[in-house]
């Protein structure tokens, strides 16, 4: 194996042992003792993989991951942590880490995780992510959820909900894994996924725009808002933008009729919409510099009141 690794930890012992184990495996190892230093190093040098602790004085691991990912979304990251709480791991997973190593770890675990991470990086670098493959950490988290719910009656829907939170959508591979784990036939899992509108088998964008189709919104002209959003994002309802920033969905009723017409982007509600307000709201989530966005914005301003 060869490749470059940056180890980030505030404990020198951890850095030293990582260096010793990984150098023996043939990796080029560099180190940083904190988030700020790591960030400077990633800006100057490119590493195949960053191994980082989460709890560090100064800039913590989650912030570091966020900043690295902002500059280079493709950067492979593995988390080393002594406190693998569900919350922080979930948050890190959402930011797109590949895997995590719980502290304390044996040399075998570290080399194993590193090797798998490199395999994953090679599969993704220089092209689209291979279909039906997910980062090991994601699969591990999914398996943990399956184990947690396995013996509860009626667990299929909660597991699917959690799986959709973790993976973002429910492709056949994930459905099969859940079916196997819960000992339910894949056909039944699929029948549940296709029945409920909350589940999606298509990937979503970074931000999901849900437009309300309730009666009050209908009476107040939600249709023109949907048309404007479709134009601006250049997608249909159910679609995802070319830059994968937004997906557009409709929902039966958001139960916020007092604000009609209304839409929700991720978890934020936008009420009393006009075409212009709807387009402006999109701008809060992704920069308006892409061609289609700025064009949409201009035309909205031009036509606006």
């Amino acid at each position: 194996m060869s490749g470059s690794v940056l180890v980030v930890d505030d404990e020198l012992v951890v850095i030293k042992s990582c260096e010793r184990i990984l150098t023996a495996e043939g990796y080029n190892v560099d180190s940083a003792s904190g988030g700020a230093e790591a960030l400077r190093k990633t800006e100057k040098t490119s590493y195949d993989l960053v191994l980082t602790d989460l709890k560090m004085p100064g800039m913590d691991g989650l912030t570091l991951i966020k900043l690295i990912k902002r500059a280079n979304p493709a950067q492979g990251i593995v988390v080393i942590t002594g406190y693998p709480t569900q919350e922080t791991i979930k948050e890190a997973l959402e930011m797109g880490i590949i895997d995590y190593v719980p502290k304390p770890f044996t040399p075998a675990v570290l080399t194993d995780v590193t090797r798998r991470a490199f395999q994953w990086i090679k599969g993704t670098v220089g092209g689209e992510k291979p279909k039906d493959e997910f980062p090991p950490a994601m699969i591990a988290e999914l398996d943990r959820v399956i184990r947690e719910y396995k013996n509860k009656p009626g667990c299929a829907i909660p597991v699917l909900q959690r799986a959709q939170e973790i993976v973002g959508y429910l492709p056949p591979l994930i459905q099969k894994r859940i079916a196997k784990g819960l000992n339910i036939s894949p056909a039944e899992i699929h029948s549940i996924v296709s029945f409920y509108s909350f589940f999606t088998m298509k990937p979503r964008g970074d931000h999901t725009v849900r437009v309300c189709l309730g009666t009050a919104c209908y009476v107040k002209g939600i249709e023109t808002i949907i048309a404007k959003l479709k134009d601006t994002l250049m997608i249909d309802v159910g679609g995802i933008t070319a830059d994968k920033k937004f997906s557009l969905e409709t929902v039966r009723c958001l139960g916020a009729c007092g604000l009609a017409p209304v839409m929700v982007i991720d978890h934020d509600t936008y009420g009393s919409l006009t075409q212009k307000k709807a387009v402006d709201a999109l701008g809060n989530y992704a920069s308006l510099q892409t061609a289609e966005m700025s064009e949409g914005d201009e035309s909205a301003a031009g036509k606006g009141d």
């Binding site: 009656p153 009626g154 667990c155 299929a156 829907i157 909660p158 699917l160 909900q161 039944e188 029948s191 549940i192 029945f195 409920y196 509108s197 909350f198 589940f199 189709l213 309730g214 009666t215 009050a216 919104c217 209908y218 009476v219 107040k220 023109t224 929902v251 039966r252 009723c253 958001l254 139960g255 916020a256 009729c257 007092g258 009609a260 978890h267 036509k303 009141d305």
Partner: protein, 627 residues
Amino acid sequence: MRYKRDERYKRNERYNAINAMNNFRANIMLCAGTGCVASGATNVKSVLEDELKKKGLEDEIKVVLTGCNGYCAKGPVMSVYPDDIFYQSVTTEEIPKLVEEHFLKGRPYEKLMFKEPEKKSAVPLMKDIPFFKYQVLRVLRNKGLIDPEKIEEYIARDGYQAAAKALTQMTPEDVINVIKDSGIRGRGGAGFPTGMKWEFCSKVRSDVKFMLCNGDEGDPGAFMDRSVMEADPHAVIEGMIIGARAIGSHNGYIYVRAEYPLAVKRLQLAIDQCYEAGLLGKNIFDSGFDFDLEIYQGAGAFVCGEETALMRSIEGKRGMPRPRPPFPAHKGLWDKPSVLNNVETLAQIPLIIMNGADWYKSLGTEKSTGTKVFALTGAVNNIGLIEVPMGTPLKTIIFDIGGGIKKGRKFKAVQMGGPSGGCIPESLIDIPVTYEDVVKTGAIMGSGGMVVMDDNNCMVSTAKFFLEFTADESCGKCVPCRVGTRILLDMLIDITEGRGKESDIEPLEDLGRDIIAASLCGLGQTAPNPILTTIRYFKDEYESHIKDKWCKAGVCRSLCTFMIDEKTCTGCGACMRACPAKAITGEKKKPHNIMQEVCVRCRSCYETCKFNSIRILPASAREKVIW
């Protein structure tokens, strides 16, 4: 036509409703706002009640606590109805004289009578604002008053005392009898008496029973359950504890829509607090009664509001209804006896246990007791969540509380009951809102959504909107619903796109009735209601769509032409700026023109024009115009 307000008539009506069951000669409305309580209202109440008893008047005159009237500086204040006399600065010493003068001798006690202050404050009071004036809060009693994330605040408003009473001082039969006596009916839609539901289930012998709460609120246009779960989650939990005790259940689920993240968060927090305080779990209040409660998040399917479908969904399967019997009271969730109640129903259960059945019945009508929460939305001025006694006239709700129609437009209809309901036209606006009276119009009470429509709304496309909904949400299990709603929808689409035939209306009605008769569950049995009611009250609109190819509201794009009236157009250019298709031309200060071949009939100009100069004409008008 403008609706004329007759204050005295209205006021009497409300208090007649309050008096309907009790026949008290008079009511003393004593302010229990913070200000008046601080100046001694609590003492005044007990002294007043003692004095009434002493004089033998306790069966004739009732003391009712009210919200703050805004006269805190003169507190404690009270008013006497129906005499409509207002007293201020009432002290305990003055009460014997007041009771003697007013209630025995029948003349106002002038010493304490309200004196109009010389300088009137510019701040309006509750009684000056119809939106607040006609409301009576029971379900929404803690609305805006407590922090829903703190259990102490709920307890400070008498929270969990009803649960304590039900668990330690009452037998399950006692609880069921009080609820039955109160006459409360399920607030989810059909209005089945809650007490009877509980009684059926309590009589079934089983070790395992389930107490369920329906927070799926699928009706588009209704949001009271969301609001109650967000603003007062403990009230729902307390109602469930009492219900569980009544039917002998030790496990419960609250089924909440996944679209309501804030409600889920606050309910979960409330449940956690209850476990910590021993209000859920083992041996609650040392009564030996155990109850476990958890949240189950729905995954988005309207049909899951139906009780058998909801139970299938909790079992982790496709939420499809099944034929009844067996009823859920016998075979429900996992084939165990189960009771499913709506959020709004459960939130009032603690009040009924605390105050008794007679108190509950003192509002509302004989068959529809208590109050009802409505989500008032659409074309009214005051959009929001309101609570009024059952039997309040529809007119009061829309024109007084709702403040009438926006921009002074003309009221056309109010949609009640969501996709299962119907549209009530202006001619029926005087009906009192009760389960029975609403059903007579062809609509249903439903969960309480009221979407008000004005003359900008096309009734044919409104019916189409709801059919699109039901056709899409039909679970597909039974043929009449799955195929029937699709055919109805196709016929409506034809009509709104100009392909309607004169012979279409009758088959619509016939097929609608067949679907009602043959469908398996409530979804199919009510799906044609929006079509049937709109045909019943707005047949002329269907006819003008079919015969004249004319949608007078300008909603169905194939069936209208927008033109500018040259006589009234001032050439201000507002429509030109609003037009997204750039179809409007014309010089400043001269009448403008719409280029029909460019116009997309989006209504933007119509909405924008301040001079009412945009005319909506039949589709054929386009051809007659020569450009």
